[in-house]
């Protein structure tokens, strides 16, 4: 069974540039999460979906970040105008519906904003 796939693995950009991250969850997993993991910190939830619906995006900086999952499978997270403070690893995870189901993580995209 294929795991959670993320691309790209790395991204380096200047402040003000845009970037998109892509995630392909485990087949059949209806819940998909995007986490931001700053260096030497734990993952912090940005947004999560059940199927194509956003369940919680309260921690997503809505002025610059957006996330979609149009068909309830793959998902894209986009930063419109990156800031140095966005430097972090962006992790995608998926799970089956149900309270406290195991999260399965991708390897992440390491973003550096210069």
């Amino acid at each position: 069974e294929a795991g959670v796939t993320q691309s790209p693995r790395y991204a380096v950009l200047q402040e003000g540039q845009a970037v998109s991250f892509w995630c392909d969850p485990i087949s059949g997993h209806d819940t998909l999460y995007w986490y931001q993991q700053p260096r030497d910190q734990g993952p912090q939830l940005l947004v999560y979906f059940r199927d194509e619906a956003v369940i919680d995006n309260s921690q997503l900086p809505s002025d610059r970040f957006s996330a979609v999952r149009p068909k309830g499978t793959n998902s894209t997270l986009k930063i419109q105008s990156a800031k140095q403070g966005d430097t972090a690893t962006y992790l995608c995870a998926s799970s089956l519906e149900g309270a406290a189901e195991t999260l399965y993580f991708g390897s992440g995209t390491r973003l550096t904003v210069l």
Binding site: Y33, A100, T102
Partner: protein, 113 residues
């Protein structure tokens, strides 16, 4: 405020020694509790989880954790560590009926051969 605390940012032990990594949580209700491990340049992987019942739960690779309601803790243990256990370990919680997970800041474990 709800929180997950891992008080030790870095732990160094010798190969073959025993290990305990600490985790304390602050929630109004008993949460579901997890330990995840992150190897370099990889995503997080589940070690073990606790929902209810026996407070000592067994995980992969000889890890176990003990839930203590009175201490609001969920400490991770291993009787004898191997150099390959070097990684970052995260404690995480979620609440009944929710799917939002909260992670601690992690403990970086270095095992000296």
């Amino acid at each position: 405020a709800q929180s997950v605390t891992q008080p030790d940012a870095r732990v160094t032990v010798s190969e073959g020694a025993s290990l305990q990594l600490r985790c304390k949580y602050s929630y109004s209700a008993t949460p579901y509790l997890f330990w995840y491990v992150q190897y370099p340049r990889q995503g997080l992987q589940l070690l073990l989880k606790y929902y209810s019942g026996d407070p000592v739960v067994q995980g992969v690779n000889g890890f176990e954790a003990e839930f203590s309601k009175s201490n609001s803790s969920f400490h991770l243990r291993k009787a004898s560590v191997h150099w390959s256990d070097s990684a970052v370990y995260f404690c995480a919680v979620t609440l009944t009926g929710y799917q939002n997970f909260y992670f601690g800041k992690g403990t970086s474990l270095t095992v000296i051969p």
